[in-house]
Structure formats: structure tokens, C-alpha cells
Subunit: 246 residues, 2 copies
DNA sequence: TATTGACTCTCACGTTGCGTGAGACCGTAA
DNA sequence: TTACGGTCTCACGCAACGTGAGAGTCAATA
């Protein structure tokens, strides 16, 4: 496919495709003798990934790092996308609620604090680090700090909220069996998430799960999302690690 | 409130507030003798509006035009916000569905066309909407969007089904003459349908029909119901408009 | 065959919406 | 009165393209 066709298909501009070529983010697989860019189906799949991340507010540089990472797993990435998108929708819900409240407020029906007025619009004020320190203790945070520090505020916020999303999902499943399909799928998201921040081979993942139960600080903060969640996660993580390690 | 307080409350940076002051988008109501910016509650309300529009992707210049317009109606604006946010969420739903489909696709369970792969990613550059805004102005399009966005999922599904029904009926008639009684009756239903969503004077209706043929994206999607349907509809719509316009 | 007219290419500068210091002043708590 | 954090105004930097300019390409048509 030539530039124009790709542009029409995806809704982005020709200039944008040129730009992505320039910075090496999306280099077309082929060119005609005349120098026309020719995009393959693989290029299109890659572009889809790029647009996913762009929509989520990642910088092009960050996107390049992500998709060119050899450990980049398409399937896990897609599942991460899904949870990030869901998180974004949740934020939109907050904003919609804020608007509706404001409308009511204008009708004089209720009162709003200034803080309420901005609920859902609070993107850059990032609870990630504080919460993470609370949740995992300082060492764990320091370890992943290198990676996280390289991210933009938006990316960090997205991550922190995605973490909450996974916790909530797991909390909702915690009465099921840890080796149930749903539980394993959710814990797989958690695994993918952790591997965005650091490198966790299955054994480390399993050990981390054990720590959730052994270290009461972990237990306490995890169980905020639901009584017994830490134990459930430990078990699910163990099953996951055993199935995926060799 | 001083800059820092506003920044903390809203999650935007001090620099951003300075910037908004510089460009005259949000000038604080007062200053101390030392030159410190002092933001009033009105300023905060205005900032809320600004952030609404910003989140929706408007440029700061556009936002300035909007909020400084004397005819700017806070309540209507808020209701428009709500519907635009809901529309955005709907697009997010599309994207989530696309991701889920892609995940299934990776599992080899279903196949996807290239077009499907990009559904939901065609945001502001939506050619239909842009064109419609150019031709009939913003209010008509916004109102139509608002109406559709304000519907429940079920209602939207029902609407979509009704639209398809009319298309099918028209497709069945497309070999007849565009000014035949049957054709004119069916196109009349189409006219009624459109007027349920927005306001289309006969001339706009005629123009819309022309667009079905001029813009190949329209043509393609309409002709899915039958080869030549777009052309047939344009002709029938022109006849209808001529007969019903004054 | 020549000529459109739509498409593509590569520079290269312009624009938006801030980020990021630098250097100076303000305010209050010890 | 000295420290220390908040605030001010320049002013340059940067990402992600937009927007021509000028030139080559390609298929259809006169």
C-alpha cells in the first residue's frame, strides 16, 4: 500500500507517516524504484500498535522503545492496552459524572467543593509513586524507578491506574479458584504489568507472590482491595509461574 | 487562591497557568502588590470549562473563542460537553472492542479486515464529520451528535437497525426510477430519519445526497447495500428536495 | 505522443502548548 | 537576619507534526 491508502485507511496524515519514517518509528517494508513508500501488512499491524499507544498518551520515543523491545509480546501488550483503555474509560466516566454534577449545581440543586469540580481532570498529579511506595515498600520502587523515571507523567499515571484496575479485577475474582481460567488471565495481566516495570522471570514472579503473604505490609495494602486478595494472588501467581516457567 | 494552590487542585502545572495568562485565556481576577496572581472562584469555574474543552481536543485558540463569546451559554455548553464526552467514551468502547477482537484474532479465532483493525481510531479526522461541519455548521452536527450520544446503547442499536432497514428498502428499489412513487416514499423515510437526529432543510438534504457520491468513503459504505445505491439515493434525494423545498 | 492532473518525494521553516532553567524578588518561620 | 520555599519574568528548547515549495512519477486522456 502507498502512503495515501494507508492514510485513508487509518485516518492519519501522509505527513505523519513521513514523520514516523523519518524518526524510524515506522519504516515501510519496501519502496518503488521511484522512491515511493510501500507499506506491508506487517507495517499496518505495527501502525495499529503505534496508534494504540499514541491514543494512550505515550510519546513517540517511548512507543519506539516499547515496540522495538525484543521482549515485546504482542498478546500481553494487547491485554495491557485493554486494561489501559478501560481505565481511560473509567476516567471519562468520572468526567461525565463531574459534568452532570456541575449541571445539577447550576440548577442550584447541589453544592460542589472545588476539589469535586476537577475530579477526573487530574492527570498529571500522579499518585503512582506515593501509592507504590506504600504498596510495595521503598526498595521495590527504587528498583523500578529507573524505568519509571524515564516515563512521562501521563504514562506514569496511566500505569498507576492500570495497576489499580488489575487489583480490582483480581479482587472480583478472589472467591474463584486460583487456577481458574479467569484468574489465570487476570494474573497474566499482572505479570505483563510487572514486566513493563522490571524483569520478572516466572520464578521471581512466584517469589513475589509469596512475599505478598509473608510481608504484612504487602498483605495489608493489597487486601485493601478485598479481604484475602494477597493470599489469592500468591496462589494464582504460583500456578501461573509453574505453567509458564520451564 | 495563588498559582500553586490552583495547580494542586486541578493537576495542571504552574507554567500552564502562566501560559494561559500570557495568551489571555485565563487572566486571574486579581494580583497582590508583589505581582502574585490571585484566582477567584469565577476563574476556577472558567478553568473548569477550559479543561473540558482541552480534554475534548480543542486548541487553546478555539477555546478562547468559545468561552469569550458573549452568547456562550454555560448550561448549553455543559450539556454539549456531556454528550461529547459520551461520544468519546463510545469511541473508546469501539477501541476496546477492536483490541478484544485483535486478541481473538491473535488466537486465530476470527479474521479481521484492515478497516476493522482501525475502527475507533479515526477520531478528529473523521471525514464525515468534518465535511458535515463545513457544510452545515457546527451546531447542526453537534446537536445531531448530542442526540445520538444521549441515547442508550439499546436505542442506538435500534436506531442503527432502523437505518439499515431503510438502506435495504432503498437498495431493493434502486433499479426503479428515483422519482417513482415508491422511491420517493422510501427516501421520505430517510428524510424523516435524518430529521430525528438533526435539522436538515431540503437544500441540506440535497447536498448530503451529492456528498454520498462525491465522497468515495460514503459511496463505499452505502454501496455495501447494493451497487449503485449511493447514486440512486443522490438522485432520489435531489428530486425529494426539489419537490419539498419552497 | 504529449499533456494533463493526481500522487509522491525531499527539504525546510512555522506552529502549538507547554517544559525547563536562570536570575531576581517576596514572605514567613526560626 | 537568615534561611527557604513560593512567585515573578524572560527566554530558549522541544515534540509532533502542518504547510508550502519545487521537482519527479504515473496513468489516463486529448
Amino acid at each position: 500500500m502507498k502512503v495515501r491508502e494507508v492514510a485513508d485507511l487509518t485516518g492519519i496524515s501522509v505527513r505523519t507517516l513521513h514523520h514516523y519514517d523519518e524518526i524510524g518509528l515506522l519504516v515501510p517494508d519496501g519502496t518503488t524504484e521511484a522512491g515511493y513508500r510501500l507499506y506491508s501488512d506487517d507495517n499496518l499491524a505495527m501502525l495499529q500498535q503505534i496508534l494504540f499507544y499514541r491514543e494512550l498518551g505515550f510519546s513517540l520515543k517511548a512507543i519506539k522503545d516499547i515496540v522495538s523491545d525484543p521482549s515485546f509480546n504482542r498478546r500481553e501488550a494487547l491485554e495491557l492496552h485493554r486494561s489501559l483503555l478501560i481505565e481511560k474509560r473509567r476516567r471519562l466516566d468520572d468526567m461525565i459524572a463531574t459534568v452532570e454534577k456541575t449541571i445539577q449545581h447550576h440548577k442550584g440543586e447541589i453544592t460542589m467543593t472545588n476539589e469535586e469540580k476537577f475530579k477526573g481532570f487530574d492527570f498529571s498529579r500522579n499518585p503512582y509513586e506515593e501509592e507504590a511506595r506504600r504498596r510495595w515498600g521503598n526498595e521495590a520502587v527504587d528498583k523500578s524507578n529507573a524505568k519509571v523515571a524515564g516515563m512521562s507523567k501521563d504514562e506514569q499515571t496511566a500505569l498507576g491506574e492500570a495497576v489499580n484496575e488489575i487489583y480490582r479485577k483480581l479482587a472480583g475474582l478472589r472467591t474463584a479458584s486460583p487456577d481458574s481460567e479467569q484468574a489465570q488471565e487476570a494474573i497474566g495481566e499482572w505479570y505483563a504489568m510487572l514486566n513493563r516495570m522490571g524483569s520478572y522471570p516466572p520464578q521471581a514472579f512466584k517469589g513475589l507472590g509469596q512475599m505478598y503473604v509473608d510481608d504484612e505490609r504487602f498483605t495489608a495494602s493489597i487486601d485493601q482491595f478485598g479481604e484475602g486478595l494477597a493470599v489469592f494472588m500468591r496462589d494464582a501467581m504460583a500456578v501461573f509461574a509453574d505453567r509458564h516457567g520451564q
